[in-house]
């Protein structure tokens, strides 16, 4: 037993050393390997979900494709590693994946152990109600009965929210999410509360989805973004600027269709982004045309959003807080300069 403990301890030390050495040059490793290893969800509608042909689709997996496009000029050089909620952090720690893009909420304690990137999707808890109730805001929910899943933070968030607003409410709790939405569908309560992105997918499982609407209020903060190992700021720059490039492209009106045309643009900010002027990509270990590659192969943030979770998808989630900063949202990219 003692020797076993010793060898385990030795193994951990070696692993820690190896991880320390490995994490310092993720970009070089990825380039040498020729593929990006991306931790993805094992199945979440709109974020990481295989289609009928077995291709991954979703906002989170498209982010990895964008990183791959920036590095290799090829969005297909990604190896998706589907991870459960339990597996995801050890997989990142051990170096099995280079980046975790799996609807993970940015929290303080997680940030202490890993690095978090820009928020790719602002999620939060929301409400689903019947259209015929003619409610336009969660503020009008006073006295309502609300179906929630038992033992989740959902229940606590509702208590916080209604108490702070001095409104009456009644919780009707169920063990499973599926049961909860069925109960709401059969009229057991006036509203159904869960994470907003899940609410949209769940709405489709109701008998008549068009009779229901998701209220605009979000009562908790769930910022979802990519994660990587600590101590590798160069790799962090690649991750961060992949997202910023997609945002900046949307802001400047550059999309997959017109990106080639935009190469001829004389606008200085377009030229800086697409690499026809300056060498910004090279400063973070990529090429001059890194942003062009991302937009050409994957698209700008707005395109990716609408395709996976927005109006061009079945979820039909409105941009809301995920809109650009100059259109009332929270998505804001630092300038390329």
């Amino acid at each position: 037993m003692k020797t076993l403990m010793k060898s385990v301890a030795l193994g951990v030390t070696v692993a820690a050393l190896a991880a320390g050495a490995a994490s310092a040059q993720t970009l070089a490793q990825v380039k040498a390997r020729g593929t990006l290893q991306c931790g993805s969800n094992t199945g979440l509608a709109g974020f990481g979900q295989p289609d009928a042909q077995g291709n991954w689709t979703g906002l989170d997996v498209d982010f990895c494709r964008a990183v791959s496009a920036a590095i290799f000029n090829d969005p297909t050089k990604v190896k998706f590693v589907p991870l459960s909620a339990k597996d995801r952090f050890p997989a990142l720690q051990s170096g099995e994946i280079d980046v975790l893009s799996r609807n993970t909420t940015w929290t303080m304690s997680r940030d202490a152990a890993f690095e978090f990137g820009p928020v790719v999707y602002y999620d939060g808890q929301g409400f689903l109600v019947r259209k015929k109730m003619k409610i336009g805001s969660a503020m009008e929910l006073s006295g309502a009965s609300i179906c929630v899943q038992q033992g989740t933070t959902t229940e606590l968030n509702i208590a916080d929210y209604f108490r702070s607003k001095n409104m009456k409410y009644e919780i009707v709790a169920f063990a499973a999410l599926d049961e909860t939405s069925k109960a709401y569908d059969s009229g057991r309560c006036d509203a159904f509360s869960a994470d907003a992105s899940a609410l949209y997918a769940d709405r489709l499982r109701l008998a008549n989805p068009d009779d229901h609407v998701v209220l605009p209020e979000i009562i908790s903060k769930e910022p979802l973004g990519p994660m990587w190992r600590q101590g590798d700021s160069q790799w962090g720059d690649v991750i961060k600027w992949t997202h910023y490039a997609m945002l900046t492209a949307e802001e400047l009106g550059i999309n997959q269709a017109n990106v080639d045309e935009q190469l001829k643009s004389t606008a200085p900010d377009v030229k800086r982004l697409l690499g026809t002027e300056g060498n910004f990509g090279e400063q973070i270990g990529l090429t001059k045309d890194w942003a062009y590659r991302i937009i050409k192969h994957v698209g700008n943030y707005g395109e990716v959003f609408e395709k996976n979770v927005g109006q061009n998808s079945r979820l039909k989630i409105a941009r809301g807080v995920n809109g650009l900063w100059n259109k009332g949202g929270l998505q804001f990219a630092p300038p390329v300069r």
Partner: protein, 378 residues
């Protein structure tokens, strides 16, 4: 020629048994309605059985939806709730079978299925020609060919396909075939080791068997998947699927060892002594006298293990490998098929496929048992 008529020359035609003893009515009276309590029970059971069958038939076939492109097909129409959503299974069928395997390369998986089927039939069909060649094919040619096919080989012009892309029924079959083939010989060796006179071999066999049997399979898969990479240096990575296959095979062989040991212990000591008196060495004795009898005794348990093993492969889903069941579960989350009946239909389909495989194994084992027990019959 005397006319003595009182002698009956021909046997009188046998009268049929009274209708109270034969025929369906008599059978029903004897087996179903022998007492008032039995009659009530029979009627209640019959009614429940008919009702369940009717409901199942209605859900699965009569009011089921067989074609359609998305969830719209399986939605309630004019307030009538449709039954099973087979359109969902049809749409995602190739995902259930091949997982993420690249569409252009899926013919390789089909060839693998054919190779596997040929191997199984060649080995298991007793009248097949040259079954000795069949064994070589099954244990050497087929595994190598399958590996080259599925994994890819650049020197043959086959594009490499990463095991992360393997999925669906294909993974379930690969994992269980490997585990089934590996676990029996390994189990026999461990069982012999456990009964060995050599203390070191005995000690390690016991240690291994008891340790593995004492750990849940889920724990072992987690160990292999989450802990192992932490102990290995960063640039060494063992394939995820390989880790799982090794884990399941080792797990299955520990159980197999105990099954085989039961067979070894069931043999009378005289068999061992007789063999030794004939001047046979240890391996000859095992190969010619002991193991054939011991394995025959344990056929039901061996197959029982195989059936359990086949179904255990669905635990791969918790380590993020898309086996058959996980592929079905994942597909049913897709908003394209977000209707309540889609996931139910998916599970029914999974049950049918698992049943077909497991029942097939069980039936073959029963036939085998009957053949081997011919000596005991009179």
């Amino acid at each position: 020629m005397s006319d003595v008529f009182y002698i009956q020359k021909e046997p009188i035609a046998r009268l049929p048994a009274p209708s109270s003893l034969v025929g369906p009515l008599a059978w029903a009276r004897a087996n179903l309605f022998s007492s008032p309590a039995n009659a009530v029970l029979s009627i209640v059971t019959l009614v429940v059985a008919v009702w369940c069958t009717w409901k199942a038939l209605d859900f699965l076939v009569l009011s089921a939806v067989f074609s359609g492109a998305d969830r719209e097909a399986c939605l309630a129409k004019n307030g009538v709730e449709p039954g099973a959503c087979w359109a969902f299974v049809r749409d995602r069928f190739s995902f259930f079978i091949y997982g993420f395997y690249p569409v252009a390369e899926r013919w390789r998986v089909d060839i693998f299925f054919v190779l596997l089927a040929v191997g199984v039939v060649w080995l298991l069909w007793l009248k097949a020609p040259r079954r000795d060649l069949g064994l070589i094919y099954f244990l050497v040619v087929m595994p190598v060919a399958s590996f080259l096919l599925l994994n890819g080989a650049s020197f043959l012009g086959l594009k490499p396909v990463d095991t992360a892309l393997w999925g669906g029924l294909m993974v379930t079959l690969v994992v269980s075939a490997v585990a089934i083939v590996v676990s029996l010989p390994l189990g026999v060796l461990l069982a012999l080791g456990r009964r060995s006179q050599l203390p070191v071999i005995k000690f390690f066999s016991v240690l291994y068997i008891e340790f593995v049997r004492g750990v849940p399979l889920v724990g072992m898969l987690f160990m292999a998947n989450v802990m192992l990479p932490l102990f290995l240096p960063g640039d060494v990575s063992v394939d995820k699927l390989l880790r799982a296959v090794v884990g399941i095979s080792l797990f299955a062989s520990a159980y197999m060892a105990e099954v085989v040991r039961a067979g070894l212990q069931a043999l009378p000591k005289g068999q061992y002594e007789g063999a030794m008196a004939m001047g046979l060495g240890y391996w000859q004795m095992m190969r010619l006298i002991i193991l054939p009898q011991a394995l025959k005794v344990t056929i039901p348990n061996i197959v029982n293990n195989y059936v359990a093993l086949f179904k255990d492969t669905s635990l791969l889903l918790i380590v993020g490998i898309f086996d058959f069941l996980k592929a079905i579960q994942t597909a049913s989350i897709d908003p394209q098929w977000a209707v309540a009946t889609a996931s139910v239909t998916g599970y029914v389909f999974a049950a049918l496929v698992y049943f077909a495989f497991c029942h097939g194994m069980a039936r073959y084992a029963r036939a085998m048992e009957a053949r081997l027990n011919a000596a005991q019959k009179r």
